[in-house]
Each structure stands twice: as structure tokens, then as C-alpha cells.
């Protein structure tokens, strides 16, 4: 130990050698990290420079005419494919219109589509997934067959990206396998496939309409939801037919979809559905009618306020509120309804929408007709035994005049409050 402390002996030599070895390893690792970082930065800088050289030609190409080759400043070098892809993908994010079509043409002519299709056959799943993703962004129908095949890939990520890519391509050949996937709930998430089809818009509606008669019930239900989400006018005739389908679930969802689409010509058919034997259909029909810009359904919605099911009554009241001033007048009229449920539902909606508050404020109005209208409504509320609402306001309303008038209506003795 003494020799070690004096700086000599085999132990001292060993510790010194160990210290130098560890130091050398750390120095080497540090050098590797620094060189790697410098190399990456140099490479990125070089790529940025090369991108700036290539970009103007591509920008001119997308807004111009003629093949991509005539816009390139020089033939593409090895490794520049990724730069070109990035330029087009970045442009696709901020620009719409013919730019996408021109980009697709360029991807096909420069052989990028063929290369990505070849990468769909890679042994590594992440390479296949990346290729499927890129093919979706390229949007080339040339990749359809390969992507349809990739929908059966053993890796779920590849299957999903292939499905999304087909949704971007939007041709009937690309969309038909997605519609079939909707039918196969074991292998595909219906929500995910429906989301892709919704993204494809009206192109998907045509295929769904064609395939609809041969679909099983669960797929039909999903298709009806998709029609509503896309708000497709093309689907209206089918949705109207479905309002009288044997399946209550289909009738209810068709009613909801017709409301989402918002075509007022669907109102008479939806009014019929207010008398459906299934309460779910009646509730959805009431909700849908609330979304249509028409007034002919108002008396029918008033009748629906007396439905035996609370959900139907609530949706009918909400629908009347959505009709605006004329709907509110109808709700006020329902305070006289002989059916207690209908009258109470009307009270609740008038309260929720703030109409009762404004009527109570009218008790202090200067003009007689306004005050008279408010008094009449208050009298109806008393008759309906909804004095709970008025009593609370009689105690807490900020205006002394209104507190006093409500107290008179209710026959209350109020404690004196500051005016």
C-alpha cells in the first residue's frame, strides 16, 4: 500500500493502465459521436443546398405544362429521390388543385412509383409500411394492385397504411377493396375503414351505393353512417328507402344521416318516421328534423313532445328550439298542452334556452303588451306547478321590481332586499 501511495509497484502500474484505457475508450467514443454529428450536419446542409437547386424547376413544373424532365436543371443524382419526394409532399400540404395531378405524373415518369411498389415486397415490415405511406401520398393508380395485395400483409401497420393509400388514390379499383374490408369486421376495424372511406368523399359513396344491396347488415349500418358523415346528396334516395326498412337500426341511422345531410326535401319522410314503432327511430327522426331548414314539421314535432319515450320528447324539444323563433313560439304554445309530459318538456327547453329568463325580465317592461305576454306565461307555469323556477327567481333576481312582481304572482312574502 505504501509503495502504491509512493507511485510505484505493480498495483500502481495496473491502476494507471486501467485509467488510461478507460480514458482512451471515452475519447474514442466522443470522437465517433462528434464525427457522426458533423457528418450528419454536413449531409443535411448538402441536401438543403441540393434541394434549393432543384426546387425552382419543380415549382415551375407543377404550375406549368410538359414533362418533368424538361424542368430539371440536371439529371437527378443518386440519393436525390428523397429530396424530390419531400418537395412534392411539402407542396401537397399547402397547395391544392392541379399540383397534385402534376406531382403524380412526375412520380410515375421518374420511376418513383415503381420503386415504392418494389419496396412493398421488402422483407422488413417498416420498409413496406413506409412504401405504402409514400404510395398514398403519390396517389398513383399504378400502385393500386400492389396496395390491394398489401392489405393482406402480415404486419397490421402495413395493412393500415395500404388501406389509407388506397383511400387517397380514390379510383373505383382502389376503393372497392376498402368497401369489402368494411364487410370483414374480423380482420379490419370498421371505424378505421369508415374513416378512410369518409376521407375519400363522394368517390366512395358511388362504390358503397353499388355494393350496398349485397352487404351484410353490420356493413350496411356502417355505410349509412358514412353517407351521413360525407353529407352526400347522392345517397338521399337510398336513405329515404331505408326509413321503411325492416331493421330498426338501419331506419334510425338513415334518419340521423338524412339530418346530417340537411336536405329539407327529406322532411316529409322523416315526419312519417316520428310515428315509427321503434322509439330509437322516432328519436333520431326528431333530431334530424331539427337540423333541416323547414317549418312544415313543427306541428309534428309538437306532437312528438307527448311521445311515451323521454328521448323522443327531448329530441323533439331540441329540434323545435333549433327551428329558431317560430320553434320557440311553438314551444310556448305547448305550455297549454293537455298532455302533461309535452307541457313539461316545453318548459324545460324554454328554461334551457333562456326564453324563460327573458320573459321574466319582461315583467318590468314599460309597454303593456310585453308585460302582459310575460304575465300570461307566468300564469301558465303556475298552472303547470312549475313554481319552483319562479320562486327561485322571486328570491334571487337582481331587479327589485321583478322580485316584487313574481312574489305577487306566487303570493309570496319576501324579505326586504336592497334595490
Amino acid at each position: 500500500m505504501r509503495r502504491f501511495l509512493q507511485g510505484s509497484g505493480p498495483m500502481y502500474e495496473f491502476v494507471l493502465a486501467l485509467f488510461y484505457s478507460v480514458g482512451a475508450v471515452f475519447a474514442l467514443l466522443l470522437a465517433i459521436i462528434l464525427i457522426g454529428k458533423a457528418w450528419r450536419e454536413l449531409r443535411e446542409r448538402s441536401l438543403r443546398r441540393r434541394r434549393l437547386v432543384l426546387e425552382p424547376g419543380f415549382f415551375r413544373y407543377v404550375v406549368g405544362q410538359g414533362p418533368i424532365e424538361s424542368f430539371l436543371p440536371r439529371p437527378l443524382r443518386r440519393g436525390e429521390q428523397i429530396l424530390v419526394e419531400q418537395i412534392f409532399f411539402d407542396l401537397g400540404r399547402v397547395v391544392k388543385g392541379s399540383v397534385h395531378e402534376r406531382a403524380r405524373e412526375a412520380f410515375e415518369r421518374l420511376g418513383f412509383v415503381d420503386r415504392a411498389v418494389a419496396r412493398l415486397r421488402s422483407r422488413r415490415w417498416w420498409t413496406r409500411a413506409e412504401a405504402a405511406e409514400k404510395l398514398g401520398l403519390m396517389g398513383s393508380p399504378k400502385a393500386t394492385a400492389a396496395l390491394v395485395q398489401a392489405m393482406h400483409d402480415p404486419a397490421a401497420e402495413v395493412r393500415v397504411r395500404a388501406a389509407r393509400a388506397l383511400g387517397n388514390i380514390k379510383t373505383s379499383q382502389a376503393l372497392r377493396p376498402l368497401v369489402r374490408a368494411l364487410v370483414d369486421p374480423g380482420r379490419w376495424s370498421a371505424i378505421r375503414v369508415a374513416g378512410i372511406l369518409i376521407g375519400a368523399g363522394d368517390d366512395a359513396v358511388e362504390i358503397l351505393l353499388l355494393e350496398f344491396p349485397s352487404m351484410p347488415l353490420h356493413a350496411r349500418i356502417a355505410a349509412v353512417d358514412i353517407f351521413g358523415r360525407i353529407r352526400s346528396l347522392k345517397a338521399i334516395p337510398l336513405l329515404r328507402e331505408l326509413l321503411v326498412s325492416d331493421e330498426a337500426d338501419l331506419r334510425a341511422r338513415a334518419a340521423f344521416a338524412l339530418g346530417s345531410i340537411g336536405d329539407p326535401s327529406a322532411a316529409p319522410a322523416l315526419v312519417q318516421s316520428l310515428s315509427d314503432r321503434s322509439w330509437a327511430v322516432r328519436a333520431m327522426a326528431a333530431k334530424a328534423l331539427g337540423r333541416l331548414r323547414e317549418e312544415a314539421s313543427i306541428p309534428h314535432l309538437c306532437q312528438a313532445l307527448a311521445d311515451v319515450q323521454w328521448w323522443v320528447r327531448a329530441n323533439a324539444a331540441e329540434a323545435l328550439k333549433n327551428k329558431g323563433e317560430i320553434g320557440m313560439k311553438a314551444l310556448l304554445g305547448m305550455l297549454d298542452a293537455t298532455d302533461a309530459y309535452a307541457a313539461q318538456q316545453a318548459v324545460q327547453m324554454l328554461q334551457e334556452s333562456g326564453v324563460l329568463d327573458s320573459l321574466v325580465s319582461q315583467l318590468a317592461a314599460d309597454t303593456d303588451p310585453q308585460r302582459q305576454q310575460a304575465l300570461e306565461v307566468m300564469a301558465k307555469l303556475v298552472k303547470l306547478r312549475r313554481t319552483d323556477l319562479l320562486t327561485e327567481m322571486a328570491h334571487n333576481h337582481p331587479e327589485a321590481t321583478i322580485r316584487q312582481r313574481l312574489a305577487i304572482i306566487l303570493g309570496l312574502r319576501l324579505e326586504k332586499q336592497p334595490a
Binding site: 426546387e55 425552382p56 415549382f59 415551375r60 407543377v62 404550375v63 411539402d90 407542396l91 401537397g92 400540404r93 399547402v94 397547395v95 391544392k96 388543385g97 392541379s98 399540383v99
Partner: protein, 126 residues
Amino acid sequence: MRQHRIVVADDDPIVVRFLSAILKDEGFDVRTADDGEKALQAIQEHHPDLVILDLVMPYHDGFEICQRVRAAAETRQVPVIILSMKEKEQDALRAFEVGADDFVRKPFNALELVARARKLMTGGRG
């Protein structure tokens, strides 16, 4: 004839480079800025015939820059187009309230934007 001058301000570099390239090809003299501060500086120095502004930018947003353009005597008549990625209807209304001449949503149609720019510069403010 004097070249029309345009200031394009957007914090998304691809938008700036793309618009700059296609507007230059159309024969316009284009200056670019990637934030609100630089946009104000470019407008002051460049005396543009048109300003294209992104709505959301660092330091000053498109609304604020548009208000300042309208407030200054020397730029009061300069047409302004506001570009926005947002879907909100209120943004378009606010853009017109602060004095913008046009409001274009991203993704935008490049050729349509060039046509709008040309119309605003040759036809003056509406």
C-alpha cells in the same frame, strides 16, 4: 413599365419559396419574410404594390400587420391578401374587418392566387 412589387410573408419556408418562385416567373419583383417583424420591415423598405400575409406568424400575426398597413398613410392603399391554414369562419370575417382585400385558405390553388394578386394590383382596391 415598372415591375409590380410584392411582399410575401409566411413562416412556412415552402410557401415562401413556392410563391416567390411562381410570382417571379410571372414577372413580379418579390421580397420575402419569415416572421411578422421582417414582414413589417420589408413593407416599409420595399414599398410594395401587394402584400401576401400568413395569418399565424411569430412576433406579429397577419391581422396586426394588416392593421398597421392600413394605419400608415403611405401603405393605406396597398392591397393585402391573408393566407390561413385555419378553417374558422370568424378568421375570414376578422381579416376583412382589419382591412384585408382577400382571404385565401390553405391549401390554396396557386394559379388562382396569382390571378387574384394580379387583379388586385391592376384593378386597385375594391
